[in-house]
């Protein structure tokens, strides 16, 4: 209950935020990315954090939503985008059910490995088929819904916020329900869980389906927002890893961990991409602009955000495996 109240308050604040910052497409864009990554990571967290089943292939579900939506809208431009979102959920659910039925009988490393294999099959198939736009990707010229101005960013800000709130709401509800307890029992010890009457594959599949469906909605929203997708943007292994990393940094298996992770990582990535970090170092006088290091930083830092992710991953696993929120969690 306390958590639901907190979600409501924060959602209200986030709702009002665009009114405060006014018309600033750059800031709004970053906020949309934060909300999207927070929601993606929260959706992953239901499966990975609560049920303990680490999926390394969540990009497949994101891509399923994005591609289903954009392919349908290119063929039937007048279709209501929400129908496309629903069909995206179905596509993602089919992929999830296939993955789940193959690997949830097995334990240990197999789910992680198989989730990557499935995601790669999806990625390569999309790349090789013609109707998916292949390597060129898909460009959507125009889209409309209820007369909203979909050229502005605000509708997408609220769309992402809505999905995030729903995801957090589902997570908060799960935590206090039978399903949530069962998922955590599966995470802690599968034999014990099974001996206490828990149908392992049913509950694993259930959490995978919830997680995949939410992820695909975010993929659809992203596709409608950017209106251009290709496999490297929506189906890449790197996206799957970014989703996990966000949860790890904030705190896996906690309600707010993914949100905290997104609040840290997305702006950091943005600072690297826009070379803000390099500029700051130079401006602060720490590095001279004309020195070899300064030139190197200026030229390369923008491409280095994945390298930085790698370093953060390693440091986080070694020194902060329970994430930032893990630090504050009282030991019972």
């Amino acid at each position: 209950m306390k958590q639901i109240a907190l979600i409501t308050i924060l959602a209200a604040a986030a709702f009002a935020l665009p009114l405060v910052i006014g018309e600033n497409p750059y800031i709004t864009g970053i906020l949309i990315s934060v909300l999207m990554m927070a929601a993606l990571s929260s959706a992953w967290n239901i499966l990975g954090g609560y049920a303990g089943q680490y999926s390394f292939g969540h990009a497949a579900y994101f891509g399923a939503g994005a591609y289903t939506t954009l392919i349908l809208l290119t063929i039937y431009p007048t279709l209501n985008p929400l129908i496309c979102v629903a069909l995206g959920i179905i596509a993602a659910s089919i992929i999830a059910l296939i993955t789940g039925s193959i690997v949830f009988r097995l334990r240990g490393h197999y789910f992680g490995l198989a989730s990557i294999a499935v995601a790669e099959i999806v990625r390569l198939s999309v790349l090789n088929f013609d109707f998916t736009g292949g390597a060129q990707g898909i460009l959507l010229s125009d889209v409309s819904l209820w007369g909203l101005d979909l050229n502005s960013k605000n509708p997408f800000y609220y769309g992402m916020l809505l999905v995030l709130v729903v995801t957090l709401g589902i997570t908060a509800y799960l935590r206090t329900s039978k399903t949530g307890y069962y998922l955590q029992a599966i995470r802690e010890d599968q034999d014990a869980a099974s001996s206490l009457g828990i149908n392992l594959s049913y509950y694993k599949n259930k959490s995978l389906l919830i997680s995949a469906a939410l992820t695909s909605v975010l993929g659809s929203l992203y596709g409608l927002y950017i209106r251009f997708i290709d496999t490297s943007a929506v189906l890449d292994l790197r996206l799957s890893i970014e989703i996990i990393l966000t949860a790890i940094i904030g705190g896996v298996g906690t309600l707010w961990g993914p949100v905290v992770g997104a609040l840290l990582l997305v702006p950091l990535a943005e600072m690297l991409r826009s070379n803000l970090l390099g500029d700051t170092l130079v401006k602060a006088g720490l590095v001279s602009e004309t020195s070899a290091l300064g030139i190197f930083l200026k030229e390369n830092l923008a491409h280095a955000h994945v390298l930085v992710y790698g370093i953060i991953t390693v440091l986080c696993i070694l020194y902060l495996p329970k994430g930032i929120l893990g630090l504050f969690r009282r030991t019972k």
Partner: protein, 242 residues
Amino acid sequence: MIQDLLRISHVSKHFGGNVAVLDISFSVDEKQIVGLIGPNGAGKTTLFNCITGFFPATSGEVIFDTKKINDLRPDEICRLGMARTWQRVKPLGSLSVLENVMVGAFSVTNKARQAEENAMEQLKRVGLTDYASKSAGSLPIGLKKKLELARVLATEPKLLLLDEICGGLNHTETDTILDIIRTIRQRGTTIVFIEHDMKAVTSICDRIVVLNSGEMLAEGNPEEITNNPDVIAAYLGGGHHA
């Protein structure tokens, strides 16, 4: 009273070429306490695993409440009313003691509040009320054994399989657990009890089944078993520790 609540006939279990359990048959009537004893490696735990669906038996039949359960999954068997504890305790480490027991209780209710009430009741029964909000992983072994018991009781089993629930406990702890077991039986639960401590076994069991190297060595009431020369030989010969 139901005769043969559990009937095991000609159950064998092979691991590759290794025979862990060979042609075991016995049955358990309702409200009985049956002891299952034997030296280390005799196959007691393996037999439990066959009965509860963790390792399907290589051959033979397991019949529970007139239903053949060989091919059922452990969770299905649990929901039919047969539950087991683990010799190597398996607490859900990062959950609290109360939450551990609630997980058990959810097999009979879907409501969190009801599960919590049932769980608190079981905690009271085994004397863990004060530890309800502690994390299960942090308990000492004696309390973890009690938690195993509370958790499995919360599934409201008709038949309870206890695998060395007193193992590694001191005398007073063992006595408390034996007392709990007696009250459980009075309420109508049937129990199969694996234990090395002969005093504990003879004091509460109605019948005893003895395994040795996977085979059934003897079966009878406590007096018959303690006087059985084969059993005495097996225990003196085998590397038994109490």
